[in-house]
Structures are given as C-alpha cells and as structure tokens.
C-alpha cells in the first residue's frame, strides 16, 4: 500500500493543529492543506506535481547568467551596462517565482522546489561575484580562525583580526571537518558549508511558517519575503559565524514547535536534539544566541498570557515538554556558561558598539550632532543613484504600511497561538531599527538586527498579504497590487543590502574598499611574507593589507595596536620620530607593510585602518608619511613590488626604550578584562559616564 508523501506531510500538519498548542490557527486558512483522504483520492499527475517549477527554472536561470555577465562587465570596467544588467538579473530571479507563489494553485512540492531554486540562484549570485577566494572583510576574519584550527588541530587559537572569533568556532569546526575529510581548500569547504546552511535556513523557515499557519501558500510567500531581506544575498551568504548560527537557530525553533505536536512520551529524544542545537548556536555566534534567548524568553512570557491559560484549562492538555520555557532556560544557562568560559569577551566586544550607538542617539536627540547622512558615499565618484534611493525608501514605506495589515491578520487568525503572537510582537522592533540607521554605529546594529527581525516580519507581512487577497474574490487587480508591493519590497531591500555602488560589482582596485582592494599584488606580497619571512611575525599595516598578511601571509597582523594605542600613527605620522618608535616598541612590531596606493585616494569605506577610535579620513595620506621609513638607520626595506613595500623594523622595536614620548592620543585602556565586575566598571567609566 502506498502512502503519498505529500499527504503524509499534510497529515502531520493536521496532527499538529489537533494536538499541539504551538501551532494552531484559530480559523482554517483558505489555502490550508487538504485532508489526506481528499489528497489521496485526487493524486495529481506527475506533471501537475511539479507544476511550473521546471518552466520557471528555465525562466530564472538567465537571471543568474545576467548577473554573471554584469560581474564580467565590472571586471572589464565596462562603463554603463553592468549595473542595469545586474538589477535585471536579480528581478528575473525573483519576480516570476513570486508571482507563482502568490497563486493558490501550486502544490506544496512545487512551492518548496521553487524556494530551493531561488535560494540556490541567490547563493550563486553571491558566489559568482568573487569565485576564487574570500574577499569580504568578515570572511577574512573567519578564514584566519579556520586556518589556525587547520594548522594546530585545536580550537581557541589567538586570532589577531577578530579575537572573539576564536571563541565561537562553530563555523570553523564544520569547515575543518569538510576540509579534512575531502581535501578541499578552506575557501571551497567554507563555500559548501554556507551553502548547506542557507538551504537549511530556507527549509526550516518554510516548515516553521507552514506549521504555524497551516497554509502552504502563506509559508511559501513568507519564506520568499524572508529571502528578500537585505542581508540574505549579501551578508548571510558570507563565510561568517552568523551565516551558520542563524540557520541553526531557526532550525532549533522549528524543532521546538515540532516537538509540540509529538506525544509527551516521544518528546524526550527530540528535546535532547534541541538542547544540542542550542549548544551549537551558543558556541557558534554570540549575537544569535542572545537573540534566540530573547525570543524564547518573549515566547515563554506570551505563552503565559491569560487567554492561553484559559484555553489550557478548557481541556487542551499540554504535552510534557511542549513550549519554549525549558528551551529558554537551557539557552540562558548555556549562554552564561559559555560567556564565563570565554571570559565575557562577547560583552567586551559588543558593548562599545552599543554604547556608541546610545551616545550617538543621545547626541542627535539633543541636537548636538547631525544625523547620519543616508546613502552617503565616501568615494569621489557618484553616490547611490536617485532611483535606487527611491526604491529603498518605497520598500521601507511598503513594509511599514503592510505591518498593520499583517498584525491585524495575526490577531484575527492566530491570537490563541503564543508563537504567532510573539512573532507579531517582534515586528514592532522593526521601526526602531530604522531610526538606528540615522547613527553611524547604529546603522551596523540595525543591519545585523534586520536578518533576525525579518524572520518575524516576513510571516506577518505574508499573513497580511494572503488575508488581503483572500478576503474577497481574488480579483486580478488586487493580486497584481499585492504582488507588485512584494516586488517593490524585494527590490528596495536588495538595494539596501547591496551597500555602496562601488561594492555591487567586482572591478579594478580601489583604496580602502574591502573586496575591491583584494588584488594580486597584495595577495602575492602576503604569500611572499609567508614563504620567506615565515609565519607568526607581528606585522603592522592598513586595513586591507592586514587582512591579507594575517591570512595569506600567516602573520600576526594588526591595525588596532596591542594596548589599544592607535597603531595607525605608525603610518600616518609625517616623520619617523619618537612617537612612532614608542608604538613599534610597545607592540613589538617586526614588520611594517606600506601600501603606497593609500596616498592616491580616500578610502571608500571611510577609514584606512581598523581602529574604533579613528574618525573617517578626510584627506588622503601624505605619500611622504608612507615613505618615511626609507633611509632610517636599522630599518631594512626588504620587499618592494612597486605599490607595496615591506620594512623590517625589528631592530628599532627591540632597542632599549628611551624617555617616554609625547602621545597625541588618549591613554591606553586595558584590552583584556578578567572578570565581570571589572568589565562593568570599565563599561561604566568608558562608555556610560561620557554619555
């Protein structure tokens, strides 16, 4: 006897709504899955099963090709056509699928296939941009951790680029497993890991939304809206710890919801898996574990609301381990234990950003500082085009206008569902994050928050959209309107996520432009350093060459300075004097890597160095400042490739110290904090008090 898998999934959903409190729509949704008997009776033909998926795959595939052509145009510095081609490609990837998913006709199988296709295509979009090696700033930070694990076979090796990365090694562990077993390079292994994680994210999201709503249509649309979030294509697909932690967190949340539909006796085994998942999230990314903890706590609180209790008393027997409370408790315990184990470094890492954001918000509210200029570009070339700005603003307006509809739909259909209510509450944070974009530090925070918030936002907006087209007859006009809004949201969010115009496409070298600054001369200089100097020397350089020296060059490269003294002064100082000498000695610098191209332009990202204390550069570095090491006694100029010069300053750094030089910067502040009390004290003295 054959049982249709589709109907089996449908029965699972039906089962969950019958026994589980976690996923019970208050009213049946129009597109809710059909009862098994009906589905079994009307077994669709094979062609109907996949529906438009094969045709849409042929329609979408040229979108990937268009994007690849646009990238090629960027590499060849073609003047006009690459950017429009890029956006046309992205539209082709999304719009046909969105229109199909909006329809009530596709089967569950077709919807899932379409979502997987979109995910793969978007992932390729990111991969094709730089298909040979990691180029993003964040990717280099984790590449170093992965290299350290591969070299030492052990975790927690000091990472000069991002010290905290070594203490959240989940991504690097999986990459190491793939690399060790298959022999693939770290780049190839990491690309595969992030690809699988992205697939897990989309599948888990779909299943979560489906179980929550009981509607394949709503689930498909909500997942597609999540894919439209600004970070999905350009940030969540990076080789960075959040790219793995977020899919794991969504998977764990889905497992918690899924557990609610199991009989109490069978929940124990799944609970162990959930706890394992929570532990994996906690050791993979600090911010994701904090966000997951906050969400589980909120969900726990909402599940205690009076009408939920009333419902339980009315005969809804809750399973033994159903609900998020025990998961919230376990997450809290694991997070605290890991923070203690890692010496609270996550707080020390995140606190300055939070404090800086608070400070800037206060300044703006008090009219002491102007708000951050949106869509501002540091390069001398043109900024974000007007049409892109309009698309971005329109997208945000559509989201804000759509939120009330979505929240109303949530209240109307799912108000007895604690999870749905929690999701509704979370979306209220979104408007606040938009305001954070007006501050320099807050913009980064808001960008990070959006990847989490869109999990809730996508469901709420999809619920509103589905309700809007389902309330009355599905007239073509209404469908077209809502589908148009979804496309506008997608396009605007892509514009927001794509960043500065110069970062959209690969192209010639630019000063201080992260991926655009990674090019063969810098890479070869770093490879030379690894081969001829040997690994592990303390090297000072600018932001981009630091990345290269620390990864390709295997050096202890840094730009921040060992005791938080701005090491940048070594390169910025117009003369070689006692100030420079003191910093070299203090940080035991052995080599200085100078990139003469820094004197030719302002850095595209605003700063030449990776130091939090530095203000954005307003003038290019003086070339004389970069060449000041020439002719200094005991400073050997050991490498010259035209633009990149490497100086050996070991003799200077190891000479006995003279009288303390006059410093033009604020005194050093302790970097490593030994205990929470010390951290709180530091946080108060340095961050709260100045406010």
């Amino acid at each position: 006897m054959t049982t249709d898998m589709e109907s089996m999934d449908n029965r699972n959903l039906a089962g969950s709504t019958a026994t589980g409190w976690a996923a019970r729509p208050s009213a049946p949704v129009q597109e809710a899955v059909a009862p098994p008997a009906a589905t079994a009776a009307a077994t669709p033909a094979r062609a109907q099963m996949w529906g438009w998926f094969p045709a849409l795959s042929v329609i979408s595939a040229p979108g990937v090709l268009l994007v690849a052509l646009a990238y090629e145009g960027g590499r060849l510095s073609a003047p006009q056509w690459p950017v429009p081609l890029f956006w046309c490609g992205l539209l082709l990837l999304f719009v046909p699928v969105a229109l199909r998913l909006f329809s009530a006709k596709p089967t569950r199988q077709e919807r899932i296939a379409l979502l997987i296709m979109v995910t793969v295509n978007f992932y390729l979009t990111k991969y094709l941009q730089y298909p040979l090696y990691f180029t993003s700033y964040d990717e280099f930070l984790h590449l170093r951790s992965a290299q350290d694990i591969a070299a030492s076979h052990h975790l927690f090796q000091p990472n000069p680029l991002l010290p905290i990365s070594a203490f959240y090694p989940g991504l690097e562990i999986v990459t190491n497993a793939v690399s060790s077993l298959t022999g693939l390079s770290i780049f190839a292994a990491g690309t595969l890991v992030i690809g699988v994680a992205t697939l897990l994210l989309v599948l888990s999201l779909y299943l979560l939304y489906e179980r929550l709503s009981g509607s394949t249509r709503l689930a498909g649309l909500a997942t597609l809206l999540y894919i439209a979030n600004p970070g999905f294509v350009f940030f969540d697909t990076m080789f960075a710890y959040e790219s793995l932690a977020l899919p794991l967190a969504i998977f764990v949340v889905f497992a918690i919801v899924r557990r609610g539909s199991l009989p109490a006796r069978q929940q124990v085994a799944l609970t162990l898996l959930i706890w394992g998942g929570l532990a994996a999230v906690v050791v993979t990314h600090h911010l994701t574990s904090f966000a997951l903890l906050a969400f589980l706590c909120l969900w726990s609180i909402v599940s205690l609301l009076p009408w939920k209790k009333t419902r339980a008393r009315q005969g809804q027997k809750q399973p033994l381990l159903a609900g998020p409370r025990e998961a919230a408790l376990v997450t809290c315990v694991l997070t605290i234990l890991w923070l203690i184990y890692t010496n609270w470094q996550a707080f020390a890492y995140l606190a300055p950003n939070l404090a800086s954001t608070m400070n800037q918000v206060t300044q703006i509210l008090a009219h002491k500082a102007p708000p951050r200029q949106l869509f501002h570009s540091n390069t001398a070339s043109t900024g974000t085009p007007l049409w892109e700005r309009i698309a971005a603003y329109t997208s945000e307006i559509c989201i804000l206008l759509g939120l009330p509809f979505g929240l109303f739909a949530i209240w109307r259909r799912y108000r007895v569902n604690a999870f749905a209510l929690t999701v509704g509450c979370v979306t209220l944070i979104y408007p606040v994050t938009l305001l954070l974009h007006l501050t320099q530090s807050g913009a980064e925070l808001a960008n990070r928050a959006e990847e989490f918030l869109f999990v809730a936002l996508a469901f709420v907006l999809a619920a509103g959209a589905v309700q809007l087209v389902s309330r009355t007859k599905q007239t073509g006009r209404r469908l077209a309107l809502v589908a148009g809004v979804v496309v506008i949201i997608y396009f605007g969010q892509m514009v927001l996520g794509s960043g500065q115009p110069w970062s959209l496409l690969p192209g010639p070298y630019m000063v201080g432009a992260d991926a655009r600054s990674i090019e063969p001369e810098g890479i070869n200089a770093a490879v030379w350093a690894s081969a001829y100097l040997g690994p592990g020397h303390i090297v000072a350089s600018d932001r981009d060459n630091t990345l290269l020296m620390a990864t390709f060059g295997e050096q202890m490269a840094q730009t921040a300075g060992g005791a938080d003294v701005p090491l940048s002064w070594v390169l910025l100082s117009p003369q070689f004097g006692s100030g420079v000498t003191a910093i070299l000695r203090q940080d035991d610098i052995q080599y200085v890597v100078v990139d003469l191209r820094l004197s030719t332009a302002l850095p595209a990202i605003g700063t030449y160095f990776n130091s939090a204390n530095l203000q954005p550069a307003t003038t290019p570095i003086n070339r004389a400042a970069l060449t000041k090491f020439d002719g200094v006694q005991n400073v050997s100029r050991v490498f010259d490739s035209g633009d990149i010069i490497i100086y050996n300053v070991e003799s200077i750094a190891r000479q006995p110290a003279g009288p303390p030089p006059t410093r033009h910067f604020r005194p050093a502040r302790p970097k490593k904090l030994s205990q929470p009390v010390a951290w709180v004290r530091q946080f108060y003295l340095w961050d709260i008090l100045p406010l």
Binding site: M1, T3, D4, M8, D9, N12, R46, M49, W50, P54, V58, S60, P62, L65, V67, A68, L69, E72, R75, Q109, I112, N121, L124, L128, H154, P169, I173, V174, A177, V178, S180, L181, T182, G183, L192, V196, A197, L200, L203, L207, L244, P247, L248, F251, F254, A255, L273, V283, P506, E521, N524, W528, Y532, Q633, N634, V635, S636, V638, D640, G642
Partner: protein
Amino acid sequence: MKYRSTDMLAVIALTCIAITLACTVSANYVAVRILTLPLVFFLPGYALTALLFNRQRQGIVERVAFSLGSSLILVILSGLVLNLAPSGLSSGSWIALPGIITLMASVAALLRQRQRQGQDAATPQWTGSRYSLTVGQGLLLALAALIIGSALALSISGAEQQPYPGFTQLWMLPSGGAQAKDTVRLGVKNMEKTTMEYRLVINMGSKAIKQWSSLDLRVGENWQTTLAVPAVGQNSPVLVEALLYRLNAPTTPYRHVELWLAT
C-alpha cells in the same frame, strides 16, 4: 522491502564507503574524497532523525531539514569533544567520531524499525516514482542547469583572467646560518603581463659590489640567488642596497630594497 529499512541500510553502506575512502585515498584526490561529504552534512543527521522519529510519520522535506540540521549540530559538538583529545581536529578523528556515531545510530534505528515492522501500518514506503519528472520537465531542468553552468564558467574564467596591473617583486633578506651577516638572499619575480628584461645592481655603501646586467624573466618566473658581501665592520651596521632596472628604462630604478647588516 520497507522504505525505512532500505534507507538505513543505504546510510550504513554510504558511511562505510565514506570511511573507507577517507582512510585509503590521499587527500590530494579531491575528486574522490569529495564523496565523503555526506558524512558531514547528511548521514549523521539522517541516522539520528531515523532514531528520533522512529514511529513518527515524517515527510521528506522535514526529514531532509532534520538531517541537515542534526548533522551540523552533531559535527559542531563533535568538534568541541575532539578538541579535548590530543590528536585534536584531524582527518583521522573526523573519520572516527561522526562515522562511529552514524553507524551506531543507523544500526539502532534499523533494529528498532525491524522490531516494529508490521506494527505500524502507516510506515511509509518509498514513493520515489511520485517525485519523478516527465521527459519535457527533465529537459527544461537540464536547460536551466546548462544556463547556470555557463554562468559559473563565465564567472570563474572571468575572475581568473581579470585584468590587473602587472608588477615585479624584488626582495632581499639576510641569509640564515652562521654567516648571516656576510650573506644575503635576493629574489626577483616577474608578475608583469610580458617577459621582462632587468638589470640588477647591488651596492654596499656607495660602491657597487655586484651586477647582473641582463635578467630575462618570463611571466610568473622567479629568480633567486645568494650573495656573499664583503666583511661587515665591527662598530656600525652596514647598508646593502639592491636596485632593479628595466632594460628599456636603464637609468630609473624600477624596484629598490635595502638591508642593514648588523655588526
């Protein structure tokens, strides 16, 4: 045969194959070793999920999601455990721990399924034919794959051949060993777009001590040598300077390095 028994037997077989490949094939043969990928991404989670959801009816999509998620979780937690072992996270330990867990979970799931075979009338059978495609659909998907394949080829070849300015590396380091202060190592690497002709001059103080009047290097070619320099004085460090000229611009130094030889 029941679907669940078949799939667990397949998991056991694939795990054994992956372990065998990882143990016997050199890591240089990536094309073969790539077959061990499921041991990280899928097999451990699939076996665990089969054990957890033994009596549960679980759709394919949910099973795939649980397999991927559980595998990643298992690998991360395994990494933390392996870190405690002296061998750490090595190829051997990655074969051992996930492999053993997968095999144990598979066998346990298989035994439980065999015990309950026949009890659960709703145990699904393999319905792969329901997910098959018509010829037309297959052709359409093949066409899509072809287009995406061309996009991949275009991007990879485009990135490899991206035009960048050429450059030449010149370097000089003290030679290691007991005669470090009297010997230097020199190197030139041509990363220009064409074959280059150089002239290399070594000065000590203001005096030329060695010259290579014609160094012809092809694109990507590396030239290295070790050079003994006259004895260094006892009281002060001495500067050794290397100047690289292009033959088509013989008076303008193209690259310039210098080395202070300590006393």
